[in-house]
């Protein structure tokens, strides 16, 4: 990956590879997105990464659309399209072939269950790393950290619609409480 290459190809290569390693979904790949976009390629700052995460959580659609925002910030509309397709197409093709394989040979093999059981702790480990990295990028003040903890506790203990918590966070931010 040389830096003078066309940024679109860098996006396609980066997210195409990431697609096949996103065990547990898009949120599990957030540490890798942060590592590539902020630390390796310097596409965005920590603050901008936290912002695009916030925008992706407020928008309708699957969580994977955070890569659309990263792609846009690198190369505009073309970058948005390239990053999204690169993140979604390889694994979609894989899913298509694996599901056909399963439908054809419905042998009661125990390997799918073993692989699934083996991947669960991995994906939780990846998600918890996402939580840590996003907390480090978002919670720059102690009040911000308190907001995160309160949102986590409320979401864990109640069935409150998460949109209310995002809205409350936005209002606190607008009021200048978070800093």
């Amino acid at each position: 990956m040389n830096s003078d290459a066309n940024p679109i190809w860098t996006l396609v290569w980066t997210f195409g590879l990431m697609s096949l390693f996103a065990v547990g979904g898009a949120n599990a790949a957030i540490p890798e997105m942060h590592r590539v976009a902020v630390d390796v390629q310097h596409w965005m700052t920590d603050k901008q990464f936290a912002d695009v995460f916030a925008i992706s959580q407020m928008s309708p659609g699957p969580n994977v659309l955070i890569v659309t925002l990263i792609g846009y910030s690198v190369a505009g509309v073309g970058g948005a399209l390239a990053a999204t397709l690169a993140m979604c197409v390889p694994t979609a093709v894989l899913a298509y072939y694996v599901s056909r394989l399963f439908a054809r040979s419905r042998t009661h093999s125990r390997w799918p269950a073993i692989i699934q059981a083996a991947l669960v702790p991995l994906s939780i480990g990846l998600m918890s790393a996402s939580g840590l990295i996003l907390a480090l990028t978002s919670d720059r003040t102690w009040i911000a950290a308190v907001v995160t903890v309160v949102a986590a506790v409320l979401a864990f203990a109640t069935r409150l619609n998460p949109l209310w918590m995002l809205l409350a966070g936005g209002c606190l931010g607008f009021a200048g409480v978070i800093g």
Binding site: M18, F21, G25, A26, P31, E32, R35, A50, D51, F53, A54, I55, Q57, S59, P60, G61, P62, N63, L65, L69, Y72, A80, C88, T91, A92, A95, S99, A103, R106, P112, I114, Q116, A118, L119, P121, L122, S123, G125, M127, S128, A129, S130, G131, S138, T148, V149, V150, A151, A152, A155, P162, L163, M165, L166, G169, G170, L172, G176, V177, I178
Partner: protein
């Protein structure tokens, strides 16, 4: 499900009697699912596919979702392709995929353009900072929810594997492919060894 249940190829009696969806129906259904789903599309996918359209039974849906969950990549995207192609082959898979991703991608691209123009405005910066604090809290609560079954089962091996991945990715910031190329075979080998000892 009975052990002699027919394979997916033959019409099973427990499949809901609804006509299989066409390409446009697939596109529209997944566009609706996607646009309704803030934060979590899966709930809406289940509601639309199982309850509203009766295109799958709850068991079939769970089975399809389990398959998509153990494959890498965005789970709901995988689900849309597997679901669409089951009814209408590759064009069906593409229609569902395009419905799920197309409309929200347009919205998010517009938001990205707005952010590129106005992202430096102080009020917007503050709002986004507040939203991201709350959004991180939501993600952390989701992690704890997923962790609870491991804790309740006292699955020590699972918790150690989880902690190892957390350390490698979250603290040491190692590249994801390298970590998983070690962790996946290792975790599968451990799981296999434990299961064999239990059944032996």
């Amino acid at each position: 499900m009975p052990p002699d249940s027919p394979t997916a190829a033959s019409p099973a009696p427990d499949i809901p009697t609804s006509t299989p969806p066409g390409l446009i129906a697939l596109f529209v259904a997944f566009a609706k699912i996607s646009l309704a789903g803030f934060g979590g599309v899966l709930v809406w996918a289940r509601r639309a596919i199982v309850d509203q359209h009766r295109w799958m039974t709850a068991d079939e849906f769970n089975e399809t979702y389990a398959l998509c969950h153990f494959l890498p990549g965005p789970n709901v995207v995988n689900l849309s392709v597997v679901f669409g192609s089951r009814f209408r082959g590759i064009p069906g898979g593409i229609a569902a995929f395009a419905g799920l991703l197309g409309p929200p991608m347009l919205i998010v691209t517009m938001l990205a353009a707005l952010y590129a123009h106005f992202g430096e405005i102080d009020a917007l910066r503050r709002i986004l900072a507040g939203v991201s604090c709350a959004a991180v809290g939501l993600l952390i609560s989701a992690v704890f929810r997923m962790m609870m079954p491991l804790v309740k089962r006292r699955d020590l091996v699972g918790l150690v594997v989880m902690a190892a991945v957390f350390t490698a990715i979250g603290l040491l910031r190692l590249p994801l492919p390298a970590v998983l190329l070690v962790a996946i075979p290792l975790s599968i080998a451990i799981t296999f060894a434990i299961r064999r000892r239990v059944t032996a």
